[in-house]
Amino acid sequence: MDFATRQKKFWKQVKKERMLLVFLSIPLAFLILFHYVPIYGVLIAFKNYRYIDGIIASPWNDFAHFKFMLKDRLFIRALRNTLTISLLRIFLTFPLPIIFALLLNEIYSKPIKRIVQTITYLPHFMSWIIIAALVNQVLDPKYGLLNAIRNHLGMESIYYQGRKNLFIPILLIAQLWQSVGWSAIIYLASMSSVDPELYESAELDGANRLSKALNITIPSITPVIIIQFILSFSSILNGGFDAVFNLSNNLVMETADIIDTYSYRAGLQEGRYSYTTAIGLFKNVIGAGMVLLVNAVARKTSDYALW
């Protein structure tokens, strides 16, 4: 088929399906305005942006923001904290929903299983403002539950949230509390699709629960585990803005300030628009790069990968 006939066929198709294009154009307009225009706006990361000049007319600055980033002690601190938080999350917290799902899977009573699921999913639907309110309430130095127990045992109260070295443990526990039930869903789903005949024949061979879990359940959910593991690296530079912003205070900034909270302060409160955009771009590129890298490693070392 030559170019002219192909073009003719294309326009015929456009005319025939014009209603579909009309439908699509409405959400597409939203998408372009609110998702693509900001991507274009990333240009200011390479410029000295001034509001009166606009994006185009602002002068280029020879990567000055990126060079400054490497010398900015507050940025380095935020980068260090972000990496600490997300690496701990990937290697410490990541297995817990899997263990939770395995244990829940061993409960044979349907109603009990349902009740446990209903209760443990609940925190997932709460904003971090609410969760922070609950954390404050449990850890409060005067009225908090933990300190009430301490006092009862004759110990002095501790101001948990004022201690620098306690911030990250508190954050990780709160994040775990919020997400453990919900994160288990995906593993439970893939467990429920395991062929029951496998278990039956294993039982005939005299396998107990532990060996069934080790030899049937875990291998059959391994692909999901690997994919979740790869995906968790895409957020390696996300410490979790909502959680950190609501749980931190000025006393713990040294360990609590992450890239996102720093960007918020530098960008929206101090008005350093270009610099903050450069930080955002850095974060975005590293996140995408990490997924590619981990995916490549997963593909080399196992049979499973995202693509």
């Binding site: 456009v14 399906e17 209603m19 579909l20 294009l21 439908f23 699509l24 409405i26 959400p27 998408l31 609110f34 998702h35 225009v37 900001p38 991507i39 274009y40 706006g41 200011i44 244990l103 061993e106 409960i107 009990i112 446990v116 699921q117 209903t118 209760i119 443990t120 609940l122 639907f125 709460m126 904003s127 403002i129 609410i130 309110a133 609950l134 309430q137 449990v138 409060d140 009225y143 908090g144 539950l145 009430a148 006092n151 509390w177 039930g181 869903i185 789903a189 893939s190 999901v224 803005f241 609501n246 960007s263 918020y264 929206l268 628009y273 955009t277 955002g280 974060k283 975005n284 995408a288």
Partner: protein, 295 residues
Amino acid sequence: MNSRKKWRISVFSVCNGVIMALCCMAVIIPYWDLVMRSISGQKGAGSLSTMFFPKGFTLGTYMYLFKDDSMIRAFLVTISRTVAGTMLSLVLTMLAAYPLSKRDLPLRNLFTIVFLIPMFFSGGLIPSYLLNRSLGLVNNFLVYILPGAVGVYNTILCRNYLMSIDKALEESAFIDGAGYGMLLARIVTPLCKPILATLALFFAVGQWNAWFDSMIYAQSENLVVLQLKLRRMMDLTSMLEEDIALYMEMNNISNITTQSMRAATTVVTILPIVCVYPFIQQYFVKGIMVGSLKG
């Protein structure tokens, strides 16, 4: 041998049951404690002896909470954004997902890629802020609804669902001369009820819990959402104490504390979610399955 094996299994079951019970308690206790505090009128409330029962029972804190319009207004703003945002997102998602699910759509692959890219790359905080500012969305209710109206991930989810449903009904209507508009409104949308219910719940919970946009864009008190109100209450202790003291003096009561006040606000903020949650929970789970199986 056989009895010993049984005994070991039951030990495991008991341990497992205990672990599950502990997990549930870890979730429930903070909420229970919260409710007890919100109805306790005495200063020491929250200490161990009063954990399971209120100390100096009162509903005065809730009365104080709704004494002026500001709380009710925050409630109304939050409800408005939840309803309007959910509706708009549903309509736009459907309008995008339906054409993208059709093989006949010209340039279908290109459009699909255009919808996929924002999943991996975004402009970030400042470019979005500058855009919204130049669009006049600062201090404007529409900022709660418009920028997030088209969700990329949800569109793809809905498209995948549409591609998986049975086409027979749609095709026969098409042969009878129905146009795409008619098909979408009369035939496809009713078939999509399960996914639309799931998406509606995702959107609604997202809207109810949103606060960052309110913090950045709402300059007037009239636009502040409930969540942000709660956050401010956590910050401004001294102002809150003065206000409470004044209120108690005027009404001749003495049983409201900062603690009970914060707890009551938190309860009011989560109450709507907790009330509908048991009924909607199954839809969420279904939704996440649709996403994970075809994602």
